[in-house]
């Protein structure tokens, strides 16, 4: 079976600095993979490379056999990869509903001319988009605030809305960049349930970056550990915990006292 996402020999340099070097990863459909590593290890850069924010210096990224390097971000998103951001990047001044509706952009079937005159496929399409968006919001329990501005939502709900918005693009692969950042232990437990539930309900493959070890160890099936752009381990969570290289990256080298 062909992997959903196949990253091979991915390398990215910022001027002289090698942010990601020789990153390899094959993701099977429905997997839940975690990327961990100390700050500055290049985790978010990997996401930025996959989604086309940066163009990889070397290597290839294939989604279902289709090369993604060199494509624009919106084309990559339309072909089935959606993401959230480390620091929430909602459209703050727009309504919750509009945030989700915008994510349908890749799927609209009417032309600009039809939009200018509100004719042809415009009506049926807009109706479909509104219904789908509201259904999605209802599923995420955000429908009560559908017409509020996104910026007034409490922090936890903003995180939720970001995930909902990403799912509205109809992805096969969902990239979550530190979904638990700024959450308390109780909220993290809820988030774990949410992530599991999303995978089951929307049939998406998930890759997540996280520093919260409890979350990562509990829900991820495989972990990739990065340090200074290098992959230092790729294992099951239980094995990662005792891997000496990982311990070294996080805690420093062991010295004889």
């Amino acid at each position: 079976m062909m992997p959903l996402l196949e990253i091979s020999r991915l390398t990215h340099r910022f001027a002289g600095l090698c942010a990601v070097s020789d990153f390899n990863l094959a993701v099977e459909p429905q997997e839940l993979i975690g990327i961990i590593g100390p700050n500055g290890a290049g985790k978010t850069t990997v996401f930025n490379l996959i989604t086309g924010v940066y163009r990889a210096s070397e290597g290839s990224i294939k989604l279902e056999g289709e090369e993604l390097v060199g494509k624009t971000s919106h084309a990559i998103t339309t072909s089935g990869i959606a993401r959230t951001f480390q620091n929430i990047r909602l459209f703050k001044e727009l309504s919750v509903l509009d945030n989700v509706r915008i994510a349908h952009y890749g799927q609209i079937a009417y032309s600009p001319a039809e939009a200018l005159l509100h004719i042809g496929r415009f009506r049926t399409e807009e109706k479909r988009i509104v219904t789908q968006a509201l259904d999605l919001l209802a599923v995420f329990k955000l429908d009560q605030s559908a017409h509020e501005k996104a910026k007034i939502l409490p922090y936890g709900l903003q995180r939720r809305l970001e995930i909902a918005r990403a799912l509205a693009t109809n992805p096969k692969l969902l990239l979550l960049d530190e979904p638990a950042a700024g959450m308390n232990p109780n909220e993290i437990t809820k988030l774990m349930d949410l992530i599991r539930w999303i995978r089951k309900t929307f049939f998406v493959t998930i890759i997540l970056i996280e520093h919260q070890m409890r979350l990562v160890m509990n829900i991820c099936e495989r972990l990739v550990v990065l340090d200074f752009g290098m992959t230092i381990a790729k294992r099951m969570p239980s094995e990662i915990q005792i891997n000496p290289k990982v311990l070294e990256a996080y805690l420093g080298e062991e010295v004889a006292l």
Partner: protein, 348 residues
């Protein structure tokens, strides 16, 4: 006492909403407005001076609403709007004066105006290209440069009058025509804003990278915004040329662009009703202050300073009158709020 005022206000509001939610509200208002304009220009019950002011109001509404698409909805800062207007004015005037057979210009007037719009839209297409790479202040410089280029190109083509300008247009811009084009431009721009392309425009203002990552084709969106905006600026230019019957390149310099900017920011960004209010107030105030002579240019800016202190976001600022939202949006909103559909309990 207060409660009775409240009751009357509520009743009035309900009636108003019922009226505006009616499918025939806008068609009725527009036909009455058009009939009024037609009667005013045919029977001349408004004197020509008043008619001219109304014509300027209409032209300014088109300019403000179209510029708002870029400066308000898309959040960029274009200072070259008068340049697009100039293109439209020259294309339309050259058509009616030189190209069209004499005597038929009043018949082909709408086509000439349309051609002016298309000409400006083509230029807008070109200006959109630098906007893919540049943003904010830098794009402002690009549009400023574009305005200068248009002006100096027009000044240096002797065949179209050079710096002396172009005359010989008949007075073809009548009140009904202005009403028609104004209504059309407001309607089309509103349609655009309340479509997913329009939401794409808004998302660029909010966060361009995020919108690209949410599948919005930002290049396509910018292209649409610039082309539509410059198209209507061109339309306004054509109407302007045939109202004044004389144009020269100096009319379309940065001061004209600044005028349009003032109308947009006075009315409030990202609001069609705001732009209309801004254009009406600005045009009429300038006329009212005419007796003040040179002092006009002291009081008007002073008013703007005061406005910016007390209403920094303009009169409407990011808000929209319900009246200008498509009925569908207003109705969905009500429908959804009332239904109160409980969420699926399975969601964690």
């Amino acid at each position: 006492m207060i409660s009775s005022v409240k009751i009357i206000y509520r009743a009035w509001l309900t009636c108003w909403h019922m009226l505006t939610n009616c499918k025939y509200f806008w068609p009725a208002v527009l036909s009455v407005g058009f009939a009024f304009c037609l009667a005013a220009s045919v029977f001349e019950f408004l004197d020509l001076y008043l008619q001219l002011i109304l014509i300027y109001v209409g032209i300014n509404i088109i300019l403000a609403v179209s510029l708002n698409l870029i400066n308000g909805y898309m959040g960029e800062f274009s200072i070259g709007h008068a340049g697009f207007m100039a293109v439209g004015a020259y294309v339309a005037s050259l058509l009616t004066v030189y190209v069209l057979p004499p005597g038929t210009s009043s018949v082909f007037f709408p086509l000439a105006i349309l051609a002016g719009g298309v000409g400006a839209a083509l230029i807008g297409f070109l200006v959109a290209i630098p906007s893919f790479k540049t943003r904010g202040d830098y794009l402002a410089i690009v549009t400023l440069a574009f305005g200068m280029i248009v002006k100096s190109v027009l000044e240096n083509i002797d065949a179209i009058g050079g710096p002396r300008g172009l005359l010989g247009m008949e007075k073809l811009t009548t009140l009904p025509w202005v009403f028609f084009w104004t209504a059309l431009s407001v309607w089309v721009i509103r349609n655009l804003v309340y479509s997913n392309f329009g939401r794409g425009i808004l998302s660029i203002r909010e966060d361009e990278t995020a919108s690209d990552l949410m599948s919005v084709n930002t290049r396509q969106v910018k292209m649409i915004a610039f082309v539509v905006s410059s198209f209507f600026a061109g339309i306004a230019g054509g109407l302007f040329a045939h109202a004044l019957q004389f144009i020269n390149p100096r009319m379309f310099d940065i001061l004209k662009s600044t005028d349009i900017l003032i109308m947009v920011y006075l009315g409030g960004i990202a609001s069609i009703s705001g732009s209309i209010i801004g254009a009406v107030i600005y045009t009429i105030l300038l006329e009212i202050m005419r007796p003040l002579g040179v002092w006009r240019m002291v009081f008007m800016p002073l008013l703007l300073v005061l406005l910016m202190i007390y209403r920094p976001r303009g009169i409407m600022g990011l808000r929209e009158a319900r009246l200008f939202m498509p009925l569908r949006d207003v109705v969905t909103e009500k429908f959804w709020r009332r239904e109160d559909k409980g969420a699926d309990d399975a969601t964690p």
